[in-house]
């Protein structure tokens, strides 16, 4: 129904603006209905303006900025409708060190509500994991999983390099 969509849409707009401002340490963002008069069918556009910059199409944003916008959208929905568990595959790949710290703080907040399973190449991100699993192919083409301690994860890469 119209009212149901409008109230959910308003809620997620609010949530998205808040998380965006947190991930960008400022700036403005919004979700815009393409056609205000046709709420039941209208498409949805994303508007994003990093702090100090002037709004242009999100296509002009950098690789890392786009990742932060995507993170803000997903976590805005999770904030309103948490799921029992969340799976993130290299969501932090385009982020610089600074933004990875912001992403980590976001995960630390959200983990109170949902269980997280994250894949990452970033040693910094892996620092906040409560458990770490290393996936290896000791036998070529065959995956196996080993439980690793944090400092072990770093050497996991070294060990594979020596075998290679």
């Amino acid at each position: 129904s119209r009212e149901l969509f409008v109230s959910s849409f308003e809620a997620i707009r609010k949530s998205f603006r808040k998380i965006f401002a947190r991930m960008f340490d400022g700036g403005r963002a919004d979700l815009i209905l393409v056609d205000e008069n046709d709420v039941l069918n209208s498409g949805i556009n994303i508007m994003a303006e990093p702090p100090g910059k002037k709004f242009q199409s999100i296509s002009l944003l950098s690789g890392g900025e786009r990742a932060l916008v995507a993170i803000s959208v997903i976590f805005a929905i999770l904030h309103l409708k948490p799921t029992p568990f969340v799976v993130l595959d290299e969501m932090d790949a385009p982020l610089d060190d600074d933004n990875i710290e912001r992403f980590k703080r976001l995960l630390l907040d959200f983990k109170e509500v949902s269980q997280f399973l994250i894949v990452s190449h970033s040693k910094s991100t892996l620092e906040i994991c409560d458990a770490l699993y290393g996936v290896t192919m000791e036998e070529q083409g065959v995956s196996k999983v080993v439980s690793v301690a944090f400092d072990e994860a770093a050497s996991l890469f070294i060990r594979e390099e020596e075998e290679a």
Binding site: V73, P84, I118, D130, T136
Partner: protein
């Protein structure tokens, strides 16, 4: 803690039965390129009912069955099982622990299981309704999804929001 274990057997590069125990909080997965990390993420999508082979990087669903290496022959079946804790009854079933399983054979024939009893796909879909989990869930973010989320048309994005709203 909701998700207790993930078991893969014959799913993609997991030729040998493998079990991952998830912890409360954040479970991290690391490993070299091509070692199998994203395959684990896809196993979760798959067992929850994913119907599109393309969204699992394959052309047909049988592509998820371990297809052999230079030293091992292909397997005839792929199986994934997720075991959940259900003590707070977040899943509408009268069990404290719920296992969701799925198998696929070379013929393309597939099977679904709840606590080892054979069920249909619609039963799996039904129990996850309203949990936010299920195929195409916003809670499962695949590698490379950033571009898809941002470059889809306003109309496609609408569909994503309707699913959530």
């Amino acid at each position: 803690r909701y998700l207790k274990t993930i078991e893969l057997d014959g799913f993609k590069s997991f030729a040998v039965k493998t079990t991952l125990e998830c912890v409360d909080g954040i479970t991290g997965i690391v490993g070299a390129n091509g070692s199998g990390k994203s395959n684990i993420v896809e196993a979760i999508k798959w067992v929850l009912g994913e119907q599109s082979a393309k969204s699992l990087r394959g052309e047909k669903m049988e592509d998820v069955i371990f297809n052999g290496t230079q030293n091992r022959s292909p397997k005839g079946m792929a199986e994934v099982t997720l075991t959940f804790s259900n003590e707070n009854h977040w899943l509408p079933l009268d069990f404290n622990e719920v296992s969701i399983g799925r198998r696929i054979f070379r013929s393309g024939e597939g099977q679904y299981f709840i606590n080892k009893s054979r069920v249909r796909l619609k039963d799996i879909v039904e129990i996850f309704l309203d949990t936010g989990i299920g195929r195409d869930s916003y809670a499962i973010f695949e590698q490379g999804k950033i571009d898809r989320l941002l470059s889809e048309s306003p109309e496609e994005r609408r569909l994503l929001f309707e699913e959530f709203a």
